[in-house]
């Protein structure tokens, strides 16, 4: 069987090599828009900040593909799919025939319509060539637009490289998709203590400069700078799927086997719209672990074993200098349009902070800074098991009784949430 994979990222690589690990003798081709073997986008900020040397961003070498008998076509992007003829057309005019097709081409940076956004000095750090360009750039003052995880990581990297750094966030708090204002406010103070300015509730109006970037103008001020980094979010790549008449929502629509409406065409990674493993709601968590797990489900289905994808999970760390924080599940904002009684459990010890969000007595999300974050796994486990916190509270004696009566993870959970009294 001819299996064609579009995209040589986390998901695409996992499908190709996962097939071989599973003993597949199929003809496997990966079509890649990039020139390099698979690298990890998550590693890019740490290469940029010189925490690790550049080769550490790669997940594979060219030899890995040849020795696994996987054909890798580089520097050629898929532009259209003909589902009837079972062919993919590329930007260089080539055609690839397939029996099974896997869409694993991820997403692209959302570029806001800001005047001046094309000026030299405006950078991105989603892909390796972009990180390389930013690495070679010689500047001294940077403005990072967007304070999501990527924006904060880019800001830290540039700070380490000696830049003066300002992060601008249009929402009222930083890391708005991952944290509630109470947690984010604490993180913002810590960011500023590291010498990174964070401006929230502020909108970028334009980027100025005659030749190259000279300033960023917001609705409140003008910030002189020679470097701008766009960290304005990732939008799933859906245009390619549309050419095949595949149904798309926010991302490519797939069934629980991760097959699109067109039989024999699968999709996985940042380009798909899936469900939240905990709640069953539509979800777009564009995270590495989800890309890997989805790719493994696609492999099993391609091998003829019907495998259902249980859903994606939200989990992200926020880490800069000596600050360590984590977020999982839903934020308060994400639960706002839902029915059900919300309860927030907060704990604070010095600079450490814990915030757990319960809905109808079940953990639906949490955020932690410092020492509390070290126990995040216990909270995530309780969320997945849908453990009832009111029940724990009511049966407090179980948390202190003989060690065998209650699993230690539950007992530690009780302690963490302050239920043991």
């Amino acid at each position: 069987m001819r299996i064609l994979i579009i995209g040589n990222g986390i998901a695409g690589g996992e499908v190709a090599f996962g097939l071989r690990r599973a003993g597949s003798a199929d003809e496997i081709t990966i079509l890649s828009a990039e020139e390099v073997p698979e690298y990890d986008p998550c590693s890019l900020p740490y290469f940029l900040g010189r925490d690790v040397p550049r080769p550490r961003v790669f997940r594979r070498r060219f030899e890995d593909y040849s020795s696994a008998g996987i054909r890798l076509e580089t520097g050629d992007a898929a532009v259209a799919i003909d589902p009837q003829a079972r062919r993919v057309h590329t930007s260089s005019g080539r055609e690839y025939a397939f029996d099974r097709l896997v869409l694993a081409h991820g997403g692209s940076l959302f570029v806001p319509p800001i005047p001046g956004i094309d000026k030299p000095g405006v950078h991105r750090c989603k892909q390796l060539p972009e990180a390389d360009r930013l690495d070679r750039h010689r500047g001294s003052a940077a403005v990072v637009i967007g304070s999501g995880a990527i924006g904060i990581e880019a800001a830290e990297a540039l700070k380490k490289r000696g830049y003066a750094v300002t992060v601008i966030e249009v929402m009222d708090w930083i890391l708005p998709a991952l944290f509630d204002p109470e947690t984010a406010g604490r993180l913002k103070r810590r960011l500023e203590r590291c010498g990174i300015a964070a401006l929230t509730g502020e909108r970028v109006l334009r980027i100025e400069g005659t030749q190259a970037v000279a300033a960023v103008v917001t609705d409140r001020r003008t910030i002189a700078c020679d470097t701008v980094v766009l960290a304005t979010g990732i939008v799933p790549g859906v245009a390619l799927a549309r050419t095949a008449g595949i149904e798309v929502g926010r991302g490519i629509r797939v069934n629980e086997r991760l097959e699109t409406r067109v039989s024999g065409i699968f999709a996985c990674g940042d380009c798909v719209e899936t469900v939240d493993a905990c709640t069953g709601e539509d979800a777009m968590f564009q995270l590495k672990h989800n890309a890997i797990e989805q790719a493994r489900i696609v492999v099993r289905n391609l091998r003829g074993e019907p495998a259902a994808y249980p859903g994606a999970w939200a989990f992200a760390r926020a880490h800069f200098f000596d600050t360590h924080a984590v977020s999982f599940g839903k934020t308060t904002r994400a639960t706002q349009c839902e029915l059900g009684q919300l309860e927030i459990i907060e704990r604070e010890a010095g600079e450490d902070y814990l915030r757990v969000i319960l809905k109808e007595g079940i953990i639906v999300g949490g955020q932690a800074i410092g020492r509390f974050a070290d126990a995040a796994g216990l909270l995530i486990g309780a969320m997945w098991r849908r453990e009832s916190i009111p029940l724990l509270r009511a049966r407090r004696e179980l948390l202190g009784g003989p060690p065998t009566a209650t699993p230690w993870t539950t007992r530690k959970l009780g302690e963490l949430l302050g239920l043991t009294g």
Binding site: A68, H289, F315, R317, T409
Partner: protein, 174 residues
Amino acid sequence: MKEPSAPNTLIHVIAERCSGCRRCEIACSMVHCGIPTPQRSRIRILPLPRRTGFIPVLCQACEDAPCLKTCPMNARLRTAEGAVVTDEESCIGCRACLYICPYGAPTVSPDDGKTLTCDRCAGEPGGPWCVAACRDCGALEAVRPEELFVRGSRAAARTLRHVWSPPRSRRCAS
């Protein structure tokens, strides 16, 4: 291409036997760092609330380990023996592996903030040092994975019989 997905030596924890003496922590830091520093131990003794018991916590080298998938640097590696360890050359100390671990098993090194986990003392002729150090209490045993089920179920059955023995009247007549 076949990669091991599960360890071929496991350390079976029998928490009821743990006295909280922390000799395992000393042994672990000795074998890995050459000096007794419990902060650098890859096994840690967790006291339960009100010190009602102690739990030896160490990496279980999960079959589908979430840390392997969440590490932004791909620094969590499955060794040929099936253990899951941190590649210190790539680790940036972000603690993603610690945060996603159901047991919070990885230790954060006090030296450089990178994570440390149990490698089952790979290459040590006498097997894991913590197991040897725990001889008196017997809370740690080195076992093969297939043994673990049997031992675990037997131990659980023993304690459950003790904790939840049914009232006399409801016992089956035999």
